[in-house]
């Protein structure tokens, strides 16, 4: 991808106000540069507008002002190579399709592969998330963690240059969440797609990210911008015990809990 301005994704003076009897200004004049291939997390108190920010960036809801540029070009609608991973995996997977067909749904309207090639590509991506044998199973026959793995396989099969994740691990149990953290960090280390993760889980943000943006309460602005600087590959047990990890955790929690 040609990053004509040196940033994978540019957010410039972005504003969003929800109309209505009492207009709600979610954020205004919000700017952020996302570097090519970095893993960036946006952390903030609940209701601060971080999910709205991500939805505007994805072109799912229109901005009130400002612009988002992807590889130097304005984002309108849903750009190719920008993929969104939803919090509600169980609602974003199509229950009338097998896991394999759900994955194919993500790429084949663009790639138009033949039946056999499309299935091979889907199986390859299911194998990446450890579901090589679950292609012919329906989403509702899988556990929550496995459903989110299908959703991850689906997202990656669309060959994202930019991956947007909206609290994708918030509705699975703690152990499954750590397994998914490990999976995502391994996949990211292989492929290095530019990633923005929105989360309220500080540990998750530190474990996965290169940089962390801490948002203030509404209207959201950048309260802090931290480089994690933790060594890669990240390891589920060791990384969480790293003194630098703990220092970051301390700083972020203080910021979040309104010190």
């Amino acid at each position: 991808m040609a990053e004509t301005d040196g940033r994978a994704l540019g957010i410039d003076a972005l504003s969003k106000t929800f109309g209505g009897k009492v207009p709600v200004e979610v954020f205004s004049g919000f700017s952020l540069d996302v570097r090519p291939g970095e893993f960036l997390s946006i952390v903030g108190p609940s209701g601060c507008g971080k999910s709205t920010l991500l939805q505007v960036v994805a072109g799912l809801i229109p901005a009130t002002g400002g612009c988002v540029t992807l590889g130097g070009r304005d984002v309108t609608g849903a750009p190719a190579h920008m993929v969104y991973l939803f919090q509600q995996y169980s609602k974003s997977l199509l229950p009338w399709m097998t896991a394999e067909d759900n994955v194919i749904f993500a790429f084949n309207h663009r790639l138009r592969l033949g039946e056999r090639e499309a299935r091979a590509r889907a199986r390859e991506h299911l194998a990446m998330v450890g579901l090589a044998d679950s292609g012919s199973v329906y989403p509702w026959q899988l556990s929550g963690g496995m459903q989110q793995r299908v959703a991850i396989a689906r997202a990656l099969s669309a060959d994202p240059k930019v991956l947007l994740m909206d609290e994708p691990f918030s509705s699975v149990d703690a152990l499954t969440r750590m397994e998914l953290h490990k999976l995502i960090s391994e996949l990211w280390e292989q492929k290095r797609f530019t990633t923005i993760l929105v989360t309220h889980d500080v540990d998750e943000a530190i474990f996965l990210s290169d940089r962390i943006v801490l948002l203030s309460r509404r209207p959201a602005r950048i309260a802090e911008l931290l480089e994690t600087g933790l060594p890669r590959p990240r390891r589920v047990v060791e990384t969480h015990e790293d003194p630098h990890f703990l220092a970051l955790r301390h700083a972020l929690l203080e910021g979040l809990l309104g010190a």
């Binding site: 993929v83 509600q88 974003s92 199509l94 229950p95 009338w96 749904f105 309207h109 509702w140």
Partner: protein
């Protein structure tokens, strides 16, 4: 598999009780004939083949009207469920027309369309239309926003989303409306046939009654009952296969 024995046994007990009552003189056998006598008449109707033409007439009329009513209900229902403006435009009118008992339209329809199949097909279509419309609107509005957003982020266009997400996601609801409609469609069709006396199973039924052939009347009634039962059973089987992933509450 559900144990059918108690239910079937009870039907046999009820039939035996009617048989005994009719033969023992507890009820007027001219009005309530013994089931065994009805069975003899039914066997004659079946053996002589006189049921074939009325049955085919009824089924052809039913399917023509039902298909038209369902198609219209699904198309308008998806539009009303997807676009607020379309909903605002049609909702008051459909809510006004929906509660009219459809057989009450018969006199007007006979005036406009006569006693033939056009009138019957129109009535069946109207009767099938409303339940399908209501359930399609409900199903379309109930489609998960996350599903639609997911398709949008993968670059699907609105028309593709309608076809690949909204229609299948609403299908279980649409199917419920279509199952309800099928029963209603048969009811209004038999009523129309009885009133018009121009063929069909309802026409045969009323013709027997006019000739005071009570046992034959019951024989035709059994045929209509079996048709209704069979159509519903077939529908449920198809419905389960097509919407296997969902059981709407």
């Amino acid at each position: 598999m559900r144990n059918l024995a108690p239910g079937i046994g009870f039907i046999i007990v009820v039939l035996a009780a009617i048989e005994a009552a009719a033969r023992g003189g507890l009820v007027n056998a001219a009005v309530v004939p013994p089931p065994s006598a009805v069975a003899v008449q039914l066997a004659q109707i079946l053996a002589s083949g006189v049921f074939v033409m009325p049955l085919l007439q009824t089924l052809a009329t039913l399917f023509a009207g039902y298909a038209a009513g369902c198609a219209a209900g699904i198309v308008l229902g998806i539009l009303m469920g997807s676009f607020r403006a379309v909903y605002g435009l049609f909702e008051p009118l459909t809510e006004l027309l929906r509660p009219i008992p459809k057989p009450a339209l018969l006199p007007a329809l006979i005036l406009f369309l006569g006693l033939g199949s056009t009138m019957k097909i129109t009535l069946v279509a109207l009767a099938a239309f409303f339940p399908v419309l209501v359930s399609t609107v409900q199903g379309t509005r109930g489609v998960e926003g996350a599903m639609i957003d997911m398709a949008r982020t993968f670059g699907y266009r609105p028309a593709q989303i309608l076809w690949k997400i909204v229609l299948p996601a609403a299908a279980p609801y649409i199917a419920v409306g279509m199952r309800v409609s099928l029963g209603i469609a048969l009811v209004v069709l038999v009523v129309a046939e009885m009133l018009a006396e121009t063929g069909g199973l309802g026409g045969s039924l009323i013709a027997m009654q006019h000739q005071f052939m009570v046992r034959q009347t019951y024989g035709w009634l059994v045929i209509i009952a079996v048709i209704g039962f069979t159509l519903n059973a077939l529908f449920v089987r198809v419905e389960r296969r097509l919407t296997f992933w969902s059981v709407p509450s």
